[in-house]
């Protein structure tokens, strides 16, 4: 109805470098952080992703090494057409070398394609669909932080194995929700469970009472929420109101972030079980990062998506330095060749299909009495090792590795 123009906030880092670098296009490595800056996913990624990007560039010491790095950021408004046109403008006019983050799977799939056409690089942290390393895999894309298969595998397995064998899905009706539902359903069926029904709701639906009522009527033991952000928090909050949990059904938030738990409050969120690849309270390094990050992000602690942005840019800059080029296809190849190592995700690798491998954590939300204060929210129930956390390359159907 109204066209809001995307807002550009260009943050220039690392100033005069005395010598020109022949292989770096126009002498500057330009990183574009494309995210939801204003709507339901903006606490998950949003400006926090830009903060993480800036920290990664600083910590890498780009200025000290004489590498000019510039960060652009823009708001895709969760609209694939807006996201695509920003990406094209960035690649064609602004000479952006790499696009990072991009929550909202439908937009990530579009940019995956554009990046491949233009021969640039695409580092996905915010989007979830496992198709990015499956049938839509590309030599120009790395899927960093998490994906729908990993969520389904971590959370789905744990729940089915503890008796939650009948499911009803409340699914966000677009690429992400459908992929998450598909991957979770596969896990449920594989473990001998049954799916009794599903309902699809539009993205950013405020009221879930109707869908919850249908889930209640299905008598499924588990109500699987294949959605994210505000959709998940509203569904969880309203499920409490309609007595879903009191009536003996359990909620399974298939994709939940720490920002969601913070927004819901522990009394509503306690006991939820889900899978994450990053938690700020894992070790001294993650704690130190989270404190610095929160100071720069108006007190909000990093989500796994924002941590992933930091981690992926760190590895990208290493690859640019090692390969002495910012050519998209070459850097991505270099990133796959080099082992990864950063303070947040530890040591890891990038697979040929573009999948970054690291451990995943099955977490349970603490009771209010167990929490020492804001953001002390998770108990780690299990650690899923990197080689089991993600879909085996042979099952993804990625044409690059056939």
């Amino acid at each position: 109805m109204f066209s809001k123009r995307s807002l550009f906030a260009a943050v220039s880092l690392a100033f005069a470098a005395s010598h020109a670098q022949a292989q770096i296009s126009d002498g500057i490595v330009k990183i574009g952080v494309l995210s939801d800056m204003s709507s339901l996913y903006s606490d998950i990624a949003g400006s926090g992703s830009t903060v993480a990007a800036r920290m990664a560039v600083e910590d890498f010491g780009a200025a000290r090494k004489g590498m000019k790095v510039e960060i652009l950021s823009a708001d895709h408004l969760n609209k694939p057409d807006v996201g695509s046109s920003i990406a094209r403008q960035w690649y064609d006019v602004d000479k952006v070398d790499v696009i990072v983050d991009v929550p909202t799977s439908s937009i990530a799939l579009a940019i995956n394609q554009i990046t491949r056409e233009k021969g640039r690089a695409f580092l996905v942290s915010g989007a979830a669909t496992s198709d990015l390393t499956g049938k839509a895999c590309s030599p120009n894309t790395i899927h960093w932080t998490y994906d729908t298969w990993m969520l389904a595998n971590g959370t789905g397995n744990a729940i089915v194995k503890t008796g939650g064998d009948t499911w009803y899905f409340i699914t966000a009706d677009y690429a992400f929700g459908l992929a998450l539902e598909r991957d979770t359903e596969a896990v449920v069926l594989k473990n001998g469970g049954k799916v009794l029904g599903k309902v699809r709701h539009p993205l950013n639906a405020q009221d879930f009472s109707s869908f919850l009522l249908q889930a209640q009527a299905s008598k499924a033991k588990i109500v699987g929420l294949a959605n994210a952000g505000g959709d998940t928090t509203n569904a969880i909050k309203q499920a409490a109101e309609f007595g879903i949990v009191k009536g003996g059904q359990s909620l399974a938030g298939m994709l939940v972030f720490i920002s969601d738990i913070h927004g819901l409050g522990l009394d509503k969120a306690q006991g939820l079980i889900f899978t994450e690849t990053f938690y700020w309270d894992l070790n001294d390094q993650t704690r130190a990062f989270a404190k610095r990050f929160a100071a720069a992000n108006s007190g909000k602690y990093p989500t796994m998506v924002q941590a992933g942005v930091y981690s992926t840019i760190t590895h990208y800059l290493k690859a640019v330095e090692a390969g002495k080029t910012d050519d998209g296809t070459k850097v991505i190849a270099k990133m796959k060749e080099l082992p990864t190592d950063d303070p947040l995700f530890g040591k890891g690798t990038v697979r040929a299909d573009g999948r970054k491998l690291h451990p995943a954590y099955l977490v349970e939300v603490k009771k209010p009495s167990e929490s020492k204060g804001p953001y002390d929210y998770y108990k780690i129930r299990a650690t899923i090792p990197a080689d089991q956390a993600f879909r085996p390359m042979s099952e993804g159907g990625c044409p690059l590795v056939k």
Binding site: Q206, E241, G265
Partner: protein, 294 residues
């Protein structure tokens, strides 16, 4: 018994849910209709004012320890007051100009207000507890009805009918309506028309804030809660007939019901069905179902 493969019991449940959502549509579109009918201003700030109502309840609770019931009374007053200041300082200058200027001003204000709240509070939302008296619910046999939702329906109907009564059936209401038709003449009878207009705008805004407080325990208190709703509510007003008080109330509830049914039979279309109806109504009756051509 089943209707199109859906058990009638489930259908009753969905109709009731539709009625609850319709309560919010009715409350919000009522405020818009009052403001448009009497001021000729298309108040695009309405969604932001609804959000401010919810935030006001949250602030009252966290900063002053004032609970839900008092918030229900004071938050609309506070937000209505802010509305009146906006009307005096800005909107009052636009009455002589085309509708579009008022629309642009209020739309711009909405973006600014929402942006400021979003910067401060993010988009994950903030929890607001349900009042003790209304937590829990009862089993109606065909569905579990949370007490709070029942309260929403009752409060909304009472508020809507009271507003309709004041505007259509009392002397004050007749002054208001007369001032819309011919402000100069009403002024000549010794009635302070500008003040009356300010108060009317304040009242319309207070209705939005009232709906915001009502919504706070159900949804997350979220800077964007109004932005998501306002477009739908505008469609409701257009279908009902711009400025028609009864039209907006009836259409609000009716569209809530239709949307509820869509969520059962074809959930994917649940956020577009209202706009489809709007398009059809505009083709057949351009002034809306209850509107009159001016």
């Amino acid at each position: 018994m089943e209707i199109f493969g859906v058990p009638t019991q489930a259908l009753f449940g969905q109709l009731l849910i539709g009625l609850i959502n319709g309560s919010f549509y009715a409350l919000l579109s009522l405020g818009l209709a009052v403001i448009f009918g009497l001021l000729n201003i298309i108040n695009f700030t309405h969604g932001a004012q609804y959000m401010m109502g919810a935030f006001c309840a949250y602030f009252l609770f966290t900063k002053l320890g004032i609970g839900y019931w008092w918030a229900l009374a004071t938050a609309p007053l506070a937000v209505g007051l802010v509305g009146m200041i906006i009307e005096r300082l800005m909107l009052a200058r636009l009455y002589k100009l085309d509708h579009l200027y008022g629309l642009l001003l209020t739309f711009g204000l909405a973006l600014i207000i929402q942006g400021l709240f979003r910067n401060e509070y993010g988009t994950s939302g903030i929890p607001y507890a349900m009042p003790q008296e209304l937590s829990g619910g009862r089993n109606l046999g065909f569905m579990f009805l949370p007490n709070y939702r029942a309260w929403v329906i009752v409060a909304s109907i009472v508020m809507c009918l009271a507003t309709w009564f004041v505007i259509e059936r009392t002397q004050l209401g007749s002054y208001l309506r007369a001032a819309t038709e011919n402000p100069a003449l009403v002024q000549a009878f010794g009635i302070n028309v500008p003040r009356m207009i300010t108060l009317t705008y304040g009242f319309g805004v207070a209705l939005a804030a009232f709906a915001g407080v009502m919504a706070a325990p159900i949804y997350q208190v979220n800077p964007l809660m109004g932005a998501d709703l306002i477009i739908v509510v505008f469609a409701v007003v257009v279908i009902g007939g711009m400025g028609s008080i009864m039209g907006s109330i009836v259409t609000g509830f009716a569209l809530g019901l239709i949307e509820g049914l869509t969520k059962v039979f074809y959930p994917e279309a649940s956020n577009t069905v209202i706009f489809i109806i709007m398009a059809i109504v505009l083709m057949i009756k351009p002034a809306g179902l209850f509107g009159t051509q001016r």
